[in-house]
Symmetry: C2
Subunit: 285 residues, 2 copies
């Protein structure tokens, strides 16, 4: 059995990190990017074995990973799906799954390729191939989001990718489970950080800022194009999560307004007990 040939479409931070991780493990990696400069950089730094600015070159790959923003991925699929090799497995890295996975699977129905969605929960605050680093995967979760369209062998192929890239933990979630989890743990937290940072124009406060404020606003530095897309793809769930948080905030506000010491203490005891379960376990990130 010959080893798989991989194609990475889009060589940004994550695409570059995928390419480098697969290359370092000895695989044939075709890098596809819009700009020749990106290809040249990837070749010069041993991220890829071949590069191309021509999407048709995905035809050489057994497994294609689309490392594109969600909207661009949808249009890319419609323009280039005819190039996939017969039996090719196509995957992605998108942070949302509803309104994305099923439309792509539908678009591929008239081809011999199979789309299986995944979400590598890893990243950095910076973008671009020059910051790519497969070490970002080593303590991260890799989520596979199979649908009834997906074969066992496609699921296994993505588990293999996660193993090659040394992800710490692999899990399988449904589309709805994934987007609900991401809506709360990732999207709501970013909305809160941004909203806290936007509450005041307050750079006089820098001198007094301790770790609490810095921790809560670290993720307020945010890529506006990517996150606007992700939020709109998950709009209804994110609105529900914002409203659930607002209700929780309101419970505290009412207790404070009423000088209700016992209600405040109960909320603090609850949050303290719940947070303890989220302390990092030894050996986990």
């Amino acid at each position: 059995m010959t080893r798989k040939t991989y194609a990475i479409v889009g060589l940004g931070l994550l695409g570059g990190s995928y390419a480098k991780g697969l290359y370092d493990a000895g695989y044939e990696v075709i890098g596809i990017a819009r700009r020749q400069e990106t290809i040249d950089y990837a070749l010069a730094h041993n991220y890829i074995t071949q590069g191309s600015t021509n999407a048709a070159d995905v035809a050489k790959a057994d497994l294609v990973i689309l490392c594109l923003y969600p909207k661009l991925m949808l249009s890319w699929i419609h323009e280039n799906k005819q190039y996939f090799k017969k039996g090719a497995i196509v995957s992605d890295i998108a942070g949302v799954k509803r309104n994305l996975v099923l439309p792509i699977q539908e678009a591929l129905e008239d081809t011999d390729a199979q789309f299986i969605s995944t979400h590598p929960m890893a990243g950095k605050e910076v973008s671009g191939i020059e910051h790519a680093d497969p070490a970002i995967f080593h303590k991260a979760n890799f989520i596979i989001v199979p649908t009834k369209q997906n074969s066992e062998s496609a699921i296994q192929a993505m588990m293999d990718v996660a193993d090659i890239l040394q992800f710490q933990h692999i899990s399988l979630l449904s589309i709805d489970e994934h987007d609900r989890m991401i809506g709360f743990l990732s999207q709501l937290t970013h909305v809160i950080a941004v909203s806290l940072m936007n509450t005041h124009d307050n750079d006089k406060l820098v001198d007094y800022t301790g770790d609490s404020f810095r921790d809560l606003t670290r993720i307020a530095k945010i890529n506006e194009d990517m996150w606007t897309e992700l939020f709109l793809f998950n709009k209804d769930i994110l609105l529900e999560e914002i409203e659930a948080f607002e209700a929780s905030l309101d419970a505290f506000k009412i207790a404070l307004q009423n000088d209700d010491e016992q209600a405040m203490k109960n909320l603090f005891i609850q949050s303290t007990n719940r947070r303890k379960k989220f302390d990092k376990k030894p050996g986990k990130s």
Copy 2:
């Protein structure tokens, strides 16, 4: 000129850290606590030069630092103010100043002691003298909150304390400036962390939790007695800060509801630019 004798009233995490820092710098430190066990521990571990469970022993000190919860400090002052030495300087460590500093200064008007308020912006998630450690001050801000009741020499005496304990930065704020700053940077952030942690009963999510959620909820583990007091002392300002945050969150929610991509991007660009100013400077904590 002889060196000052200090008294620390209340040997918890902060009182213990004050005592140890002053003791290590060679000063006479009288520790006053309710329980003899605490005194014994402090003596055995070289935190204090003398200890007492009798408040009247503050009479031996030139400078008394009250390391008590705010409400207890108010009642302690009323019960024990007659014991202060003539000319004594009395200070505190409380995290709020309105409804506290002026009542204490008023209570001391019939004595020869002067109350000058300070806030060491340092702490730990744990309490008790066994966790005391003067190193918590070394990268922290020391805020002096003088009023027109305070003499230059009292302000200087507190600057000396901050220097002895090796605080990184000393600043002077008015009572209102202090409580407004704390209401936003510290109290609002704790309310947000608690409310986020209380949004769902969600320990199934632990497996998927990344740094974003952990960063935003670290301070959701909270001492319910102390923070309930602090929040109630600063109630009106904290309610204003919660409402300002809610308005900021609402601006995002409306943009999302309306699919207003440009409004969302503008909010993200604003938060990104503002957050950059809060990045830690080299050599600063």
